[in-house]
Symmetry: C2
Subunit: 252 residues, 2 copies
């Protein structure tokens, strides 16, 4: 049984801050499912703290694991109900290239809420979207709340921070902008390639980017609500733009 030192706790807590995460090159991921997803992925585990009854999945390097008490897990966990295992994971440094042709990508213009961002990553993974390009003021991927709310999907989606205007300058792929008015998504043909651009919770799509939108699309409103949550709206749009299934008929 390993006893967490004050320094261990202090170090771990420092990783709640973006500055320290990037200085140390590490982020936090918690819980059985998330750690399993990371083990199966290209991400590199740096350290695992787990309680005794955690069953380590195959393929884990035992030297990375320290068994701690439930009380110690409680001390470091950021979850309301700690879930057996707490991991420190390396922030990848290899730059990712952006490929927009012959696929559907998501672009996020300044999403602020880590829960919404995590939900969108999970949705991207569900619908087989490989790439999310975020404006530089989008909430950080390695924010523990973002990571947790992806439910592990961040390991399968390529997430890149870039100037969106600069990226859009380099491509002719059509940009579908999620707006409160526009063409109904129900009558929008499913494209073979395209970018689904989602604005921030408070401000929507910024002015400069709005000028890059080729096809404004909307979810027609029937009742009284003024807007939809950004994650929910992304889910509905994706289901119409890319949704297909064995029994499903593509819309055109």
């Amino acid at each position: 049984m390993y006893k967490l030192s004050k320094n261990d706790v202090k170090f771990i807590q420092s990783l709640c801050h973006k500055k320290h995460r990037h200085a140390e090159g590490m982020f936090i991921a918690e819980g059985v499912k998330l750690v399993e997803e990371i083990i199966k992925s290209k991400f590199i585990l740096k350290k695992i703290y787990a309680i005794e009854k955690w069953i380590a999945p195959l393929g884990i390097n035992a030297s990375l694991v320290s068994i701690i008490t439930e009380d110690d897990l409680q001390r470091i966990s950021l979850l309301q109900t700690p879930n057996m295992v707490f991991a420190l994971v390396e922030i990848p440094t290899a730059p990712s290239s952006i490929i927009l042709e012959n696929k559907i990508s998501i672009m996020l213009d300044g999403i602020q809420d880590p829960g919404n961002f995590g939900t969108i990553i999970r949705l991207a993974d569900w619908f087989g979207i490989e790439q999310i390009i975020c404006s530089k003021d989008t909430v950080e991927l390695y924010n523990p709340k973002t990571i947790q709310s992806t439910m592990g999907s961040f390991v399968r989606v390529n997430i890149i921070y870039e100037s969106l205007v600069e990226v859009l300058k380099t491509t002719k792929v059509p940009v579908y902008g999620a707006l409160l008015s526009g063409k109904s998504v129900y009558s929008t043909p499913q494209p073979a390639e395209g970018i689904l651009l989602i604005g921030s919770e408070g401000k929507g799509i910024g002015k400069e980017l709005l000028a890059c939108v080729n096809i404004p699309i909307t979810i027609p409103r029937i009742g009284g609500a003024e807007s939809l949550n950004a994650g929910v709206a992304t889910g509905i749009l994706l289901s119409h733009i890319v949704g297909k299934g064995e029994e499903g008929l593509p819309k055109n």
Copy 2:
């Protein structure tokens, strides 16, 4: 300027607990938009605390309003960023009747997260769904987190807590169960009447209710995520089951 007393603060804080909310018959709603929605609705305001720069909407009874300092608002607010006005609202006591015929209703089997519940209420409002029937173990509507995350939509949706099995015994309206396998929602014809049954985040639809499902429906998965968030899944399903718009073509 009214100075909040210790008793005021104690009373308000007591309303964070379900037991006290129901003993006092009051719940908390905060922010400019939410209070405006309540004023326009059938809900009865009992008390408003607002800072000086809040502009009271027309139709408000001035005797209900106490002007307080920003510091005092900060003391009672449950929001990270208090938004000018804090209201106490009467919990309605008149029982609502359930009508299932000739409309689409939502049924929730044990949703636990107030954010998910609020999102579903907002979605119902967006898609013109008038009625949500909740199992008795669903999180409480008057939980401040639920109320806030509805963005005011709770005033337009009839929310009823009832034994779902008992309700389903009394009707022949078809029950669409949201499941991880079933008929693709993309090829499900839009019904004129029906119940969309959504299970809880952890456990899905309970066994006894599962036996009442007439049409299991699913959102076909393309990528690697194991599941979708309950609010997001409800949004996608609703957009296919009830979504229509001026430019949209109903699916059959």
